[in-house]
């Protein structure tokens, strides 16, 4: 079938463009670096201070047994280790959610019409772009993993675990790009798309345990976080980073994300069929 070949060549084009955009590739390294250096270091000190204060209070109250930082951070030894999974999820989210902008640009430059006038399968345009975003995201996340290691994060499940982390993050960025591509196919202006992306991005991050532990969330936010796909990416990532091979948790999170990808992929394909029949 020609679908496979069409997907490949849409993918091929996106990858060619990716390597040329030097600033974009540089930003993929720079952005997580900033997060680790600023957010990570500050929060590391803050959480350690909090834990120390708490411990002192407990000793004075005559409580028993040591209270460790990890009780605050879902079992992570320090904030840097805790937030590594969150930064990976955030990178995947932003890589995916901006994916729809390429459709709006292709439309504006007339390249979309060129593809649509050619005898290619309509579905190949969103699917090829989704695949390219997944691969681009894998490269970004691999860089983040190295940066995290430099900042002292110890990946407990080793190389196999890291490969699985890359895979889960790639799937998630692919899923988010499905939503974004569907929006891009529907909306004609880049401004409207950016407005929606901005409206989605922050709530998705802060209604998930990406940056702060679920135990710190108020009840209503916690309830909301169960409907947020980011929650289900962060969970298996954290398990792989510092908890170890807890297969049940990993498989649960991964299967939610697989379902999410299938759903948004279908959404993108249907929206393309509808918008460009």
């Amino acid at each position: 079938m020609k679908l496979g070949s069409d997907i490949y060549y849409v993918f091929w084009r996106e990858m060619k463009r990716f390597w040329l955009q030097k600033t974009r590739v540089a930003m993929t390294i720079f952005q997580p670096l900033i997060w680790f250096a600023l957010m990570g270091s500050t929060m590391n000190n803050l959480t350690q201070g909090m834990a120390a204060g708490s411990l002192m209070k407990r000793m004075m109250d005559g409580g028993t047994g040591p209270l460790l930082i990890k009780n605050f951070l879902d079992g992570a030894p320090d904030y840097m280790t805790y937030v590594a999974g969150g930064i990976i999820a955030m990178t995947a989210l932003s890589g995916g959610i901006f994916g729809g902008t390429t459709v709006v640009w292709d439309r504006r430059l007339g390249f979309l019409n060129k593809m649509l006038a050619a005898p290619i399968n309509r579905a190949s345009i969103p699917l090829g772009k989704m695949l390219a975003i997944a691969v681009q995201n894998t490269i970004q996340v691999a860089v983040i993993v190295i940066i995290a290691m430099i900042f002292g994060v110890n990946f407990r499940t080793g190389l196999t675990g890291i490969l699985l982390i890359l895979f889960i993050a790639a799937l998630f960025s692919m899923g988010m790009s499905g939503i974004s591509l569907a929006l891009g196919a529907r909306l004609k202006s880049i401004e409207a798309l950016f407005a929606i992306i901005n409206m989605l991005f922050m709530p998705l991050i802060f209604s998930s345990p990406a940056m702060f532990p679920a135990s710190a969330m108020p009840g209503w936010l916690l309830a909301f976080s169960h409907w947020n796909p980011v929650t289900y990416v962060v969970m298996p990532l954290r398990v792989l980073i510092y908890k170890g091979w807890l297969w049940k948790d990993i498989l649960f999170g991964a299967s939610v994300i697989v379902g999410f990808v299938l759903l948004t992929g279908a959404l993108a394909v249907l929206q393309f069929r509808q918008s460009f029949s």
């Binding site: 070949s5 091929w12 040329l20 430059l109 007339g110 019409n113 060129k114 006038a117 050619a118 005898p119």
Partner: protein
């Protein structure tokens, strides 16, 4: 023409956009194999709507269209295989080299690696881009991009090539160069070419037949020469100067001359169609000598397509209708890309 094979047959073609705007209102025409057929009209006349329907890019609201023997609405995929489409957008990917742009297009049309090698060589030679093939398209001039874009439309050897405003935004030298290529294509490959334009000169130079379109309706279809003959004489254009009342009388007197066939006013000017321009001008001066009216400017010429357009639509081609905001934006963007060197 009926004895020739038709490659495009359109009957009652209609396009109504959501919101009820009737962009194309029941047009009929047919294009024969090997013909260069042009559609002439200002922005918003319906040309783009027709070309996007024929190239399967937008749906048909009413009527039928056969392209390369296939019904556009029923078998869009088969139509796509048979046609090449070069949009007015200069839609080459700036982030790819010329070669990569062509390669991608070839693969979209399912060409094998062997064919790709041969055809790429062929079209690159044809549009004279062989030396620059491995440079990024963003380093190309407007004319080179247009040539690359046309080459992309040719890579699969289509039976019909659709060119939407092929020289929009290009300077005069580049425009002539593109015209040369279009004529060459027809001569060498026997290709049928359907083009839209709002440049009179372009329609006149290239087209075997022209359809004049205005507000979604075709006003006339014929060869450029026969359309000009339709006017039936020379065209005198003049501007009159007067305190007021006298003009009407002056025009009456001019109309009364036996050589004058028709007098029309358009904007500030009066257009007089006469049998023999050079001989009639002195007579016009003579006949209005006794009125208060003065002729401030006068020109005589053989009829050009501009006059034909005015004749059939009652409007000049330059009284352009404003397009939508998005359309305007796109057009400015194309202009910018075309002019960049």
């Amino acid at each position: 023409m009926p004895q020739k094979t038709l490659t495009i047959e359109v009957k009652g073609l209609t396009k109504i956009y959501p919101g009820g705007i009737r962009a194309v209102n029941g047009v009929d025409f047919a294009v024969a194999e090997g013909e260069i057929f042009g559609m002439l009209g200002p922005n918003g006349a319906g040309k783009s709507s027709i070309i996007t329907m024929l190239t399967t890019l937008s749906s048909i609201t009413g009527g039928t269209a056969l392209v390369a023997g296939e019904d556009v609405a029923a078998h869009p995929y088969r139509v796509r295989r048979a046609i090449g489409y070069v949009s007015q957008d200069l839609a080459v990917d700036d982030n790819l080299t010329g070669w990569e742009n062509l390669f991608l297009q070839a693969k979209f049309y399912g060409l094998t690696n062997e064919q790709v090698k041969q055809r790429l060589n062929e079209v690159l030679t044809m549009v004279n881009l062989k030396d620059r093939a491995h440079d990024l398209a963003e380093t190309y001039s407007g004319g080179m991009r247009k040539r690359l874009d046309i080459a992309e439309g040719l890579i699969h050897r289509p039976r019909i090539l659709f060119l939407d405003e092929p020289t929009l935004g290009l300077d005069i030298q580049t425009r002539q160069e593109i015209w040369k290529y279009i004529l060459f294509l027809r001569k060498e490959a026997g290709m049928t070419i359907f083009l839209t334009t709002h440049y009179m000169e372009e329609a006149d130079r290239l087209c075997d037949r022209i359809a004049i379109i205005d507000r979604g309706v075709i006003k006339a279809i014929d060869t450029p020469d026969r359309l000009k003959a339709e006017i039936g004489g020379d065209v005198i254009t003049m501007t009159l100067n007067d305190s007021g009342r006298g003009i009407t009388r002056a025009v009456e007197l001019i109309k009364g001359l036996p050589e004058v066939r028709q007098v029309k006013s358009h904007a500030e000017e009066y257009i007089v169609i006469v049998e023999n321009g050079e001989l009639t001008v002195p007579k016009i001066f003579e006949v209005i000598r006794d009125t208060d009216t003065k002729i401030t400017k006068i020109t005589v010429k053989r009829p050009a397509l501009d006059d034909v357009y005015l004749h059939f639509t009652g409007r000049g081609l330059r009284d352009e209708i404003e397009g939508s905001k998005e359309e305007g934006f796109r057009q400015r963007m194309v202009m910018r890309r075309a002019r960049r060197r």
